[in-house]
């Protein structure tokens, strides 16, 4: 078991200041992200939670360097983000695996600069870590959605990044596989100590995973509230505190917790 909250002595990893993103469309400028400020510490697991279409994916794309901000700054280790970087890997939904490569080829994709032996060693290690032993030579179209997602996570981890960006990574999976994948992600996170930014629209998911939940408003996205999740892992989904936190967020977003 790890402590409820990792010691706050971790250095600041990510600093976002006055971030604003607007898209130009035919009908004028559409403001997607409005004046966001956020700090993330090293090794922290932060969920970005918001309704579909609120701009949280855009947010992650800007942090990852795929999109330039309209105003404001994104700094990592004090350095301005100017583009994508192998030290920080973006994990798409399982559709991001390369269909023309085997499981092995995908996981070793970012290891071009390593020696052959080192590459083989790392690939084998991460194949093992995500539980894909025996599928090394399989192609993605021969795998299930959950297995493809594992391949993508392993491909990201293989280059030993210090941050992972996950954009609703389990959104397309069935609910049982999704639960399994969450448990695995937590296990991997505890083993590898990456800083994780995890975008989701699933309140339960965010309470199960995160150290802190950044609750966003509808578009243009602003930070509505940041919720500290002071629960140890593994989390008991029927504990009073868990339900309290979950229901608090439901209320915050303005949903009665009844169907």
């Amino acid at each position: 078991m790890i402590p409820a909250r990792k010691p706050l002595t971790g250095a600041t990893k990510l600093t976002i200041q006055g971030l604003r993103v607007a898209f130009r469309t035919e009908s004028g400028e559409v403001l997607v992200l409005d004046n966001l400020d956020l700090e993330v510490r090293e090794g922290e697991f932060v969920c970005i939670l918001g309704p579909s279409g609120c701009g949280k994916s855009t947010f992650l794309n800007v942090v990852a360097g795929f999109l330039p901000p309209t105003a404001g700054s994104v700094r990592i280790d004090g350095e301005e983000v100017r583009g994508p970087d192998p030290r920080r890997i973006f994990v798409f939904q399982e559709r991001g695996v390369f269909p023309w490569l085997t499981v092995e080829g995908n996981i070793g994709f970012g290891l071009g600069k390593s020696s052959k032996a080192e590459r083989a060693r790392r690939v084998a290690h991460y194949v093992e870590l995500v539980g894909l032993r025996g599928f090394e030579q399989a192609y993605p179209h021969e795998l299930s959605g959950g297995m493809k997602q594992r391949v993508e996570v392993a491909r990201a981890l293989a280059v030993d990044p210090d941050m992972l960006y996950l954009d609703e990574p389990f959104g397309a999976l069935d609910s049982i596989t999704r639960l399994e994948m969450r448990r695995e992600l937590l296990r991997i996170w505890q083993a590898e100590r990456k800083t994780i930014l995890f975008v989701t629209h699933d309140i339960e998911e965010s309470v199960q995973l995160a150290d802190r939940i950044v609750v966003m408003t509808a578009r243009p996205a602003r930070i509505r509230r940041i919720v500290e999740v002071d629960l140890p892992h593994p989390r008991d989904l029927s504990s009073r505190r868990y339900l309290e936190l979950r229901d608090g967020i439901f209320e915050e977003i303005g949903l009665a917790h009844r169907v």
Partner: protein, 256 residues
């Protein structure tokens, strides 16, 4: 072998046999003395084989296709990839491509003969033109429609420029490029016959027109036609095998 697998062979053979029978009886009942019976065509085949003409002419046709199609491949794939990769260049060149594309390769025959004479080169040039556009357009569209997610993933792992192109964009576009290659080969094989009827003095197309002109040998005309069909079928079969390779099969799932 199971009953079902027998059926898969049996029915096509039966359909072929029915066709030959209909042909045979059609010739008998109409008392035609122009159109040959299946037996006459078989004798024509034997004659062509015995004289070594069939092999020689098939080889000539294949050689021309290989040259013209090969050249189209060497020009079309890199050019298509470049245009797909650089949308600005594509916008500039696309109108010209779209204008040239619907012109039948046969309309180029006079131009080819004026420029290159009644030579092998003229026929090869026509095949080149006919195969170039499908290959070029397939490569361009293939590269253009590579999902942004793949490019982003590639860039995220530090790839740029030619490394991104060769390790992500090209393999992602390969199924569509192969589909274009397959279409182009079919067209090339159709065009070689037409080109040989006019621009040269050998090949299966020449055999068709020469057999008719030199004594109305329709048995040889039909034998040549069947040879053209069989070789075309084999070529298509070969390209189809390529699209079964594991690294590209993902892009052909609806076909398999």
């Amino acid at each position: 072998m199971s009953l079902r697998r027998w059926g898969r062979i049996l029915w096509p053979v039966a359909a072929g046999a029915v066709l030959v029978l209909v042909w045979e009886f059609a010739v008998r009942w109409t008392h035609t003395d122009v159109f040959p019976s299946p037996a006459a065509v078989a004798r024509g085949f034997a004659e062509l084989v015995r004289k070594g003409i069939l092999l020689q002419y098939s080889w000539d046709s294949l050689r021309r296709v290989a040259a013209g199609y090969g050249a189209a491949l060497l020009v079309g794939i890199p050019m298509g990839i470049f245009l797909g990769w650089r949308p600005g260049a594509a916008r500039a060149v696309n109108p010209v491509i779209q204008l040239l594309r619907p012109i039948s390769p046969l309309a180029w025959i006079p131009v080819a003969i004026v420029l290159l004479g009644v030579t092998d080169a003229a026929a090869i040039f026509l095949i080149f033109l006919a195969s170039l556009f499908p290959i070029l357009v397939a490569a361009m569209n293939g590269v253009r429609s590579v999902p942004a997610m793949y490019r982003d993933a590639g860039r995220n792992f530090g790839l740029t420029g030619s490394a991104l192109l060769s390790r992500v964009v090209f393999p992602a576009a390969l199924p569509e490029i192969l589909a274009g290659l397959r279409i182009a080969l079919g067209i090339a094989w159709i065009v070689v016959v037409a080109a040989e009827m006019i621009a040269v003095n050998s090949g299966l197309g020449y055999l068709v027109i020469d057999s008719r002109n030199a004594g109305k040998r329709y048995d040889l005309v039909v034998a040549a036609m069947i040879s053209i069909g069989v070789i075309g079928l084999l070529l298509n079969f070969l390209v189809q095998r390529v699209s079964r390779l594991r690294a590209v099969r993902w892009g052909f799932r609806e076909e398999s």
